[in-house]
Symmetry: C2
């Protein structure tokens, strides 16, 4: 498959440990193997069923008997569990990390992850927090795929004094998966992602909840007539509940700030409707088209109508 380009001539690291083999972790395993990013991929997961499945899928070279064992002699350790689990994981692996090992993660929040990891890891370890902005609504090791990160951004939020070689190593890894890498502060990351990911998920979960609870409209009606727009929200509202609970608990300040803006803007919109201010509605509805154009132009979205669903579902037009 040529879709990720030619594999690397020389692996970036010898031993790569993945802790947590869900959608993201298992996609990293697949991408790393396809791109020859590591000589050996070691998998660890708190859930024995996940590990069994990873063995069946043959997406790792070694299944570690414990978290502690998984990091021994490892050059690069990637934490891919829900962010709420990071503190406990750091506690379990800290004493077993080799000198100068690089520890990174894939969490959707960064300030809280740094706060959880930094005090628990030994001083010799090099921490490079990372967040690949990619995913689907599916969870678990079966749902991953090697091209998940292709043409997506990966954000690194290294603390001020982070070793440059460690940053370069993590950057090279994500670039080998087809991602573009951007570096910013953890605090800025958390605000940007609150806007582009966390609050959108919150709103999607919320509107699906509202629809489920409405007495006058049955669930059967919501489902039948969902093609009017509602179904678009149900995709991200089907995302992994544990992951998202942890995101909201760990990025509280930025989420509440962006949510405050959203609510304020919504109140203004509600008022426009109540007072029949058609011109103002029209102005907003026109302005919002430009952002989608930008997203399509930057390759972050398909230009196909209806996300291209018509083509597959309806046999084209």
């Amino acid at each position: 498959m040529a879709d990720l380009g030619r594999p690397l001539d020389k692996p970036i690291v010898e031993r790569l440990t993945l802790i947590g083999l869900g959608l993201i972790g298992s996609s990293v395993a697949r991408a790393a193997r396809r791109m020859n990013a590591a000589s050996k991929i070691i998998a660890a997961d708190a859930d024995p069923n996940v590990l069994r499945r990873v063995g069946e899928l043959k997406i790792a070279d070694e299944i570690a008997p414990s978290l502690a064992a998984s990091v021994r002699d490892s050059d690069l350790v990637i934490l891919c569990a829900p962010v709420g689990a990071n503190a406990a994981i750091a506690g379990e692996i800290a004493a077993h990390l080799k000198e100068s090992a690089i520890v990174t993660d894939v969490g959707s929040v960064k300030s809280a992850v740094i706060a959880a990891l930094q005090p628990r890891l030994p001083a010799h370890v090099r921490l490079v927090p990372a967040h690949p902005v990619a995913g689907t609504e599916y969870s678990g090791p079966d749902s991953g795929f090697a091209t998940l990160f292709r043409r997506r951004w990966c954000i690194l939020t290294p603390p001020e004094d982070t070793d440059a070689d460690a940053i370069a190593c993590v950057k090279a890894l994500w670039e080998s998966f087809g991602s573009q890498v951007e570096v910013m502060s953890a605090q800025h990351h958390d605000l940007v992602l609150a806007m582009t990911s966390h609050v959108p998920h919150l709103i999607a979960y919320n509107i699906v909840g509202t629809a489920a609870d409405l007495e006058e409209v049955t669930s059967a009606e919501v489902i039948k007539f969902s093609a009017g727009g509602f179904r678009d929200f149900t995709r991200i509202a089907a995302s992994d509940p544990t992951m998202w609970r942890d995101v909201f608990l760990n990025n509280k300040d930025a989420v509440l700030e962006v949510l405050g803006r959203f609510t304020e803007d919504l109140a203004a919109l509600q008022r426009m409707i109540r007072w029949g201010e058609g011109d103002k509605l029209f102005e907003l509805f026109t302005r919002t088209r430009a952002i989608r154009r930008g997203i399509i132009e930057q390759g972050q979205e398909t230009a196909a109508p209806d996300f291209g669903r018509q083509a597959t579902e309806n046999g084209g037009g």
Copy 2:
């Protein structure tokens, strides 16, 4: 193309007039021709550029010189303009409709449409309001396609005393396009659609507006990192501004009611985050998955991850 089944042996009507040849009207024209639903399709539109394009696309048999001329001798007239234009259109065509002509529409609101049309149409005309729950984010005669309505629902909201033959005629038309037809009251329709379509659009427009206005996060950042969830909202926020302005102005009560529920639920969710109530968040995030499963099972949505976008954009996994 077998995707719509075999064309009808005998047309449902002789002369079919379409007023407004945007996404929906031009899709009706294409579907009606492909399915042999009418012997002759007559197109009318207030915009001469649209009519010229309809001529170039050859999707109608006749281009009418005026609205009045378009309905002469017509058996079935479908109003496909934004709903705010219906009153004026009814005024222009009323005197020219033939005895017992059927007038229907495709508007996303129904009570207001009935209120606009009923007093303006002559008593001999049979009004059967309809709403095909289908669409894409694109507008105009080039964006339509014959299979748009396939496997989608079309809701009819005939007033109490509507002639049964007229209802059967409109039902047969939509069924020939591959739609399933449901009949309900205009009032109930407006509440159901406020939930499944209007408020979702409002929220999508609103969050895209919030993102555009946030000072601390640049538009470039919003665009880059939109794959975290935000981009899903931009699709419906790119829908036709005139159509949607009219929807909100004409379904004010139901939209404000559903929006009130949404806002109330969102306030509760905000409070859960502020107080760190992880269990309640988890409970909601789990519950919302069931609705998407239902939508997929009922054939209203694709089960492909990420709406199937990955397959086309990224070459599969």
